[in-house]
Symmetry: C2
Amino acid sequence: MFLLTPVLVAVVCILMVWIFKNADGATKRREEEPRARAEARPWVDEDLKDSTDVLQVEEDADEWQESEEEVEHVPFSHTRYPEKEMVRRSQEFYELLNKRRSVRFISNERVPMEVIDNVIKAAGTAPSGAHTEPWTFVVVKDPDVKHRIREIMEEEEKINYLKRMGPRWVTDLKKLRTNWIKEYWDTAPVLILIFKQVHGFAANGKKKIHYYNEISVSIACGIFLAALQNAGLVTVTTTPFNCGPRLRVFLNRPANEKLLMFLPVGYPSKEATVPDLPRKPLDQIMVTV
Amino acid sequence: MFLLTPVLVAVVCILMVWIFKNADGATKRREEEPRARAEARPWVDEDLKDSTDVLQVEEDADEWQESEEEVEHVPFSHTRYPEKEMVRRSQEFYELLNKRRSVRFISNERVPMEVIDNVIKAAGTAPSGAHTEPWTFVVVKDPDVKHRIREIMEEEEKINYLKRMGPRWVTDLKKLRTNWIKEYWDTAPVLILIFKQVHGFAANGKKKIHYYNEISVSIACGIFLAALQNAGLVTVTTTPFNCGPRLRVFLNRPANEKLLMFLPVGYPSKEATVPDLPRKPLDQIMVTV
């Protein structure tokens, strides 16, 4: 009797420990599942989901509360065209933009920098969350800098194609004859790297929130592409799959900036080809209620 | 001695259970911290971070592997302008777009629907990840549908302003005189709701991955805004803060579509005003290397 009691107590205790451990394990496994799902997005650039993208709004006492002063409101001046003119303008604009293609064969011919300035100024007219204008356009003309960018990009792209992307994505891109060799990064006279500022700084140096910064910068990129096409230059819209952080450091951009897009800009080379892809007709992209 | 042993064993066992529980708790708290940070983004619409946005690429056997056939490549035809003409065109395009403002006072005057068609066709020329064209433009003209949309939106917006956004954001928006009353949703002759398709469907009904769908649709939205400005119509770019799911269901859009942006479109009303905000000059948004 006296001998059995300690053994019994020990067995009960070991059982309790085992039961507790197991119950915890099950809870933890259930909790981990959604996180694993959330991480299975290999095409979201490492840099895009950088933790600095996540700002704490309520708790971070180090952020700056804007002063309450109101901005003056002024009458809006508008240019109105007659209805026929509106139809003609909208038709011509569509036809101009419908000729735009992503061109991967870019000549090394010099482009007028005044045009690049105007295209970036046009992109800078995009709307942005609470008018934060969270974009930086880095224009690279220096041949050595361009070459180093190509090297960084090809190193990372090769790893993407061979390891990170998975067979389905590589197959999807194969149709477009896309791989990790980016010759146009050397030949294009201008590389434009568009950074999103995941937060800004107020006058006193404290953090200023940039609401919806990725959407805002992407909208600016859309206007950039329209402006470039209107000027008669070509590019290919490229996302910085995993090489964003290295390029940011190489180009000395601050930590609040993340590379969103990079665009080699120039004239098309004489032998430029494009995949013969159709666009969806209007009735496949528009629904009227 | 015999009496002490069971007590001692029991004490040791209870201690063990307590230690194990505590160690687990600490681990779990550490694990939960980044998740809590990730959730502290009140300006990211509930719908935008909908779990359907997260596709499992490698594991989901139900997704469709594209066939390996290559698309034919064709010569690219390009319109090249003389250098002076390029500068003039880019300058004029910038000046046109620099007049664009987010206008919250929209007249109820009818707009030519052919113009809306052309503007959406222009937006549909945007580039997209692996040419997936992941956008749906819902054009609402029916007054009852418009009114119901306004009701849904104002209900959710009121909760946003009073509960979800926090004082800093409300202050940031106050400068723009923005609140939850959206009169222009009733008066604007056309509401355009832009949905991103977080995935598509292959011919056999299986899921087709839409890489970077949010960025692609935002780029299309940028081109949309340029096209609208070029045609002489106005809008205000609005994000569907939390009312996306209700509006999607109300408009009978499928579950793979998420509301990204909504835009009331029309002519400005006669008394339209805009906040007197400057845009950043070129040297604050461009860096040359």
